[in-house]
Each structure stands twice: as structure tokens, then as C-alpha cells.
């Protein structure tokens, strides 16, 4: 029991995460929580979806259990399985079961990456039943009032092979995320990396220009997270162009000509 208690505390956020609301997402999330509705966050990578969930977890004083989804994620990985412990076979709750039992927020990040049969497991939790069947154990866990299920995915990565089933999509309240407006993004950069306003503004201008290339060979524009990284490197003493090359040019594309054109954009600012 002591171990279980310790684990719950690990999932609780002690300090308020920095989050700058960009619209009415906080109010919508709170409303969904009160109505016990699951929420789906849609948006490009690095735009603040995970940070938003952390913030809401802290605000609502709920524990947050995050599961990074991948194509090998099985239903057992989510709900739990029997494992050998010494001479005994004991049941081990999965992260989803842990969150349900604790009445916390279960956050399935990049859920579109998980196998379709795995995502079906969450269906009973998302309608009015709010239950989690543990088939291997022969149990049904009923979600407490304060449990909430949140999933996120990046619509830019959708394809025929990787997309959420409509039967899954239509169980969630959807919140759209995108990169913040320039002024807000600069504020975020200053707060997260400690850079001054002038530098933050330059980074945001670079990002704005790079995002113009999204339909011209770039799958996604440069994320706010990468801009924060750039700011952090600069704060650490790295020369601005070198920092931008390492955090903006190279991570987002392997196309050398694209990298060069982005670097030229960086050079116009620094």
C-alpha cells in the first residue's frame, strides 16, 4: 500500500506549470471536466498540448497519468496484466487503470500511434457507462466522478493507415491547438527560456517565416518547443545562429536545401 501511495504522489504535480492560455481552452476543459466528458486535443507537435494537460491537472488538483502511445502498445499495457513476483503471480495495474482507480486524469499522448484494437479499450470509459473492464482479471472498474480521459493527436500526421476511428473520435470534446500568436509566443519564450524580448521577437519572426513553408516541403513548421530550446541554448551562451541551426533548421527537415533556406532566414534576424 505504501508503494501504491508513493506511486500516486509521483503522478501529482507539485508546482504550477507555466501555461499561457491562448483562447477559451481552459474554460472549455473545466466545463468538460465538470460534465465528466472526455477531451481530445488536436494540434501540431510542440504547440503546448501536453503542457496544457499538465496545467489543467494542477489546476483541477488531479493526478496526471501520461501514456505515450506507440504502435506496439497493447490493451494489456494500458489496463494491466498478471506478472510473476517471486513465486507468486500478481496482478499489476496498467497506467489507465491506475488513473481510473485514483480518479485522476489519464492522458493518452499521440493516441493515433496506438493499434486500433488498443484504442477500443477506452470506449467504455468515454460514454455514460464510465467503466473499465479488466477482462483478464474478470473485473470491472467503475470510474469515480473526478476521473477524466484526455487524448491528443496531431492531425498533420493523419494517413489512411494512421487515423482515429470515427467511433473513437465521436466520443470526445475536441479542443484545437495551434502555434500561439506572435506576441503570446514571444511571452512564452521569455518565460520558458529566460531570453529578452528582442531575442524572443526575432525567434518568433523566424518561426513565422518558417511556418510559411509548411505546404512547400515541410511537414510541420517549427514548434514553440523548438523555439524554447533555441532560447535556452542562447541563454546558455551558444551563438544565436548556431543555436537556431541546431534547434530549428536541423530537427525539422533533412532536406539540405530546405535547411539552407531556413538558415538564411535565421541570418536575416541574427
Amino acid at each position: 500500500m505504501a508503494v501504491e501511495t508513493q506511486r500516486m504522489e509521483d503522478f501529482r504535480l507539485e508546482a504550477e506549470p507555466y501555461y499561457l492560455p491562448l483562447g477559451n481552452e481552459v474554460e472549455l476543459f473545466e466545463a468538460a471536466y465538470k460534465a465528466r466528458l472526455p477531451v481530445m486535443l488536436k494540434g501540431p507537435t510542440g504547440c503546448g498540448k501536453t503542457r496544457f494537460v499538465e496545467y489543467m491537472s494542477w489546476k483541477l488538483e488531479r493526478i496526471l497519468v501520461t501514456v505515450g502511445c506507440h504502435e506496439d502498445l497493447t490493451a494489456s499495457d494500458l489496463v494491466g496484466k498478471y506478472t510473476l513476483r517471486g513465486d507468486e503471480t500478481v496482478w499489476q495495474d496498467g497506467p489507465l487503470t491506475t488513473a481510473v482507480k485514483a480518479g485522476g486524469i489519464a492522458y493518452l499522448d499521440e493516441v493515433v500511434e496506438a493499434r486500433k484494437d488498443t484504442t477500443v479499450v477506452i470506449h467504455p470509459l468515454t460514454d455514460d457507462r464510465r467503466i473499465l473492464p479488466l477482462e483478464k482479471k474478470g473485473e470491472v472498474v467503475r470510474a469515480p466522478e473526478d476521473f477524466m480521459l484526455v487524448i491528443s493527436y496531431n492531425p498533420g500526421y493523419q494517413s489512411v493507415l494512421k487515423d482515429l476511428k470515427h467511433s473513437t473520435k465521436q466520443r470526445f470534446v475536441a479542443l484545437d491547438f495551434d502555434y500561439p500568436e506572435p506576441e503570446a509566443e514571444a511571452t512564452i519564450l521569455m518565460s520558458e527560456s529566460g531570453i529578452d524580448k528582442e531575442t524572443a521577437t526575432k525567434l518568433v519572426k523566424i518561426a513565422e517565416k518558417v511556418r510559411n513553408l509548411r505546404t512547400h516541403g515541410l511537414e510541420e513548421g517549427v514548434s514553440t518547443r523548438l523555439l524554447v530550446y533555441a532560447g535556452q541554448l542562447m541563454e546558455g551562451g551558444v551563438e544565436p545562429i548556431t543555436a537556431c541551426e541546431a534547434t530549428i533548421c536541423k530537427p525539422i527537415t533533412d532536406d539540405l536545401e530546405m535547411q539552407r533556406s531556413i538558415l538564411e532566414l535565421v541570418a536575416t534576424q541574427f
Partner: protein, 351 residues
């Protein structure tokens, strides 16, 4: 010809030249005959006069012509017979041996064969230099055949290598590429293999113009003519001279090398899909069209490519700004509306 030292020493000094001459003449008939005569002549010089020596040599030669082995034996025995009490014995001996060697005097067929053989041997001797020449020519032709074999082998390699290279070649370079590679192939297929690859990189990479490519080939062919190996090195840019020629032929930074970077740069700056076009397209499109920027085909303001690229970048940024802010979208008929909008925005400050 063989003459032993002791034999020569036995000849009176004043007769030695004669001795050597006579031995040489008789040796021309048959080597073994010459050896035996050389052995007997010193004795003849001391014991007999010149007439006897001439007689001796004449009798030996006469028998040797019809049978050299009999001639050798006669040359050995005759000097002793000249000392016989009856001087006619030696002549009789020679006649007997002659008859015995020649056979019946009515054997005309043998004589005819001998004569024919002699003639044939003469002809064969005459033909010997021609045979030697024929052998030399055979060797020369064999060497050329080996060289042609190598040439055919390299031509085959070239035949296999060219199609994939041609598939990578930009169509606008095709004519000049084929012409230049063909020139090198005619001179040396092995060098052509090198030239085919190098020329592809030079033209596709816009490192030389079409005229530059022709000049580069011409100079390479000069090198190839002087030395095959050095020429092949030239065509794979493996020589200092080849690099120097390339450097000399360089013509600034070509737009095609950086067109995509500039397009992306201008697109990012303006937020519009901007196409980059060369001056050669200017006649077919609107110079200040809202979706493209026209730039020079090459930039050669500066010595180095970095600064030439910067010049391109400035021009592209200027073009992007024109597109983004619509510099040439201005119409005189818009002026009243523009004034009204400005008055609304700035009020009295405008006045």
C-alpha cells in the same frame, strides 16, 4: 671460320693474311671443310709453293661441291699423297673419290636435282630478309591487335555505363554532353568513361557553361594526344592542370544551383508561393508577376560564391517584398480610396 692459335703460329708470318683469306673462302663452302683445311694449310705453306696450294684447294673444293664429307677426308689425306714417289697418285686418288662421291656419270637426274636444289637454296637465301620483315610486321600487327582489344573492352564498358548516366543528365545539356563525350570516345574509350562521369557532374552541377564544357574537352584532348595516362587523369579531374582549367572556365554562381533555396527563402519571407525564374524566361512571363521573381541566370558580381549567393538573396528578398506588399499593384484610380483610408487612420496628422 675456325683457326686455332697454334695453326696460325705455324704459318710463316708473311703468309698469314693469305692463310686466313683462303681458310675463310673454303669455310664458306662448309664449316667442317674450313676447319680441316685450316689444319692442313700451315704444312702446305712450309712444304709447297703457291701452285701446289692452289692445286690442293682446287681439288678439295671440287670434291666438296659434290659431297662435303668426302671433301673433308680428301683435304686431310691429300697433303700426304703429294709426297708420294709417283706424283700421279694424288690425282688418281682425287678422281676415284670424285667418281665414288658423284656416282655414275650418266646420273643426270641427280645432277638436275643438285642444280635445282642449289638454285632453290639461293632463292631461299634471297627471301630470308623478306621473311624477317614479314615477322616484324606480324609482331607490329599483334601489338596493334592487343591495343584494339583493350580499346574494344573499354568501349564495351562505356556502352554499359552510358545509359544510366544519360538518364541522370538534364535534357538541356544533352546535345553538348553527347557531342563532347563522343569526341573523347573517338580518341580513347577509357578516357571517355572518365569524361562521361565528369561531364555529367560539371553540366548538371552547372559548374561550366556549354562553351566551357567544349573548351574543357578540347584541352583534355590535347593532353590525351600527348600522353594517354595523363589524359585519362585529366578527364577524371585527377590532375592539377584539369582543376586549373575548370577554375579558369568557371562562370560565377549559376541560378540553377541555388534556385530552390531562393524559392523557399522568398516563399518563407512573403508567405506566398513564389517561383524563381531566370532572365531567359522574361520574354514569356510578366516581369513583375505576382507569383514569381526573375533573377539573372548567373551571378558574378564577386569572386566567391558566398557573396554571389548573398547578392542573389538580396534580389530574392526584394522580389519577395514586391510580391508581399504589392508594389506594382498600385493604380491611379485607387488614389481617392487610399486617401480616405489614410485620413481615417491618421486623421489630421495626414494634412
Amino acid at each position: 671460320m675456325y683457326v686455332g692459335r697454334d695453326m696460325l703460329a705455324a704459318v710463316p708470318e708473311e703468309r698469314r693474311d693469305d692463310y686466313l683469306r683462303l681458310v675463310e673462302e673454303i669455310s664458306d663452302l662448309k664449316y667442317q671443310l674450313g676447319v680441316e683445311v685450316a689444319r692442313q694449310l700451315p704444312r702446305m705453306f712450309t712444304e709447297h709453293d703457291d701452285a701446289a696450294i692452289d692445286r690442293y684447294l682446287g681439288q678439295v673444293r671440287a670434291i666438296a661441291v659434290i659431297g662435303w664429307k668426302s671433301g673433308v677426308e680428301v683435304a686431310k689425306q691429300l697433303p700426304d699423297l703429294y709426297h708420294a714417289p709417283d706424283p700421279s697418285i694424288a690425282d688418281a686418288y682425287v678422281e676415284i673419290v670424285t667418281d665414288a662421291t658423284m656416282g655414275a656419270p650418266d646420273d643426270e637426274e641427280t645432277l638436275a636435282f643438285t642444280s635445282e636444289l642449289t638454285e632453290l637454296e639461293r632463292q631461299l637465301r634471297e627471301i630470308e630478309p623478306k621473311q624477317q620483315r614479314a615477322q616484324e610486321i606480324k609482331s607490329l600487327l599483334a601489338a596493334r591487335d592487343r591495343r584494339d582489344e583493350r580499346r574494344r573492352k573499354h568501349a564495351q564498358e562505356l556502352a554499359a555505363a552510358l545509359p544510366p548516366i544519360l538518364a541522370r543528365l538534364r535534357p538541356r545539356h544533352r546535345e553538348v554532353y553527347l557531342r563532347e563525350v563522343r569526341l573523347v570516345a573517338a580518341a580513347d574509350p577509357e578516357a571517355a568513361l572518365e569524361a562521361a562521369n565528369t561531364m555529367l557532374d560539371l553540366l548538371n552541377g552547372e559548374r561550366v557553361s556549354h562553351d566551357g564544357a567544349a573548351e574543357w574537352t578540347r584541352r583534355g584532348l590535347d593532353v590525351l594526344e600527348k600522353n594517354r595516362e595523363v589524359g585519362r587523369g585529366y578527364f577524371r579531374i585527377g590532375s592539377k592542370f584539369s582543376l586549373e582549367v575548370l577554375e579558369e572556365l568557371r562562370e560565377g554562381l549559376a541560378l540553377r544551383q541555388v534556385a530552390r533555396v531562393l524559392k523557399l527563402y522568398a516563399t518563407a519571407l512573403s508567405g506566398r508561393d513564389v517561383a524563381v525564374r531566370g532572365i531567359d524566361e522574361m520574354s514569356s512571363v510578366d516581369r513583375f508577376g505576382p507569383d514569381h521573381i526573375i533573377l539573372p541566370d548567373d551571378m558574378r558580381f564577386f569572386e566567391d560564391d558566398d557573396r554571389n549567393f548573398t547578392a542573389y538573396k538580396v534580389a530574392a528578398a526584394h522580389g519577395a517584398a514586391r510580391i508581399e506588399f504589392g508594389t506594382y499593384r498600385f493604380q491611379l484610380t485607387d488614389v481617392p480610396d487610399a486617401i480616405e483610408q489614410l485620413m481615417e487612420r491618421y486623421g489630421s496628422k495626414l494634412a
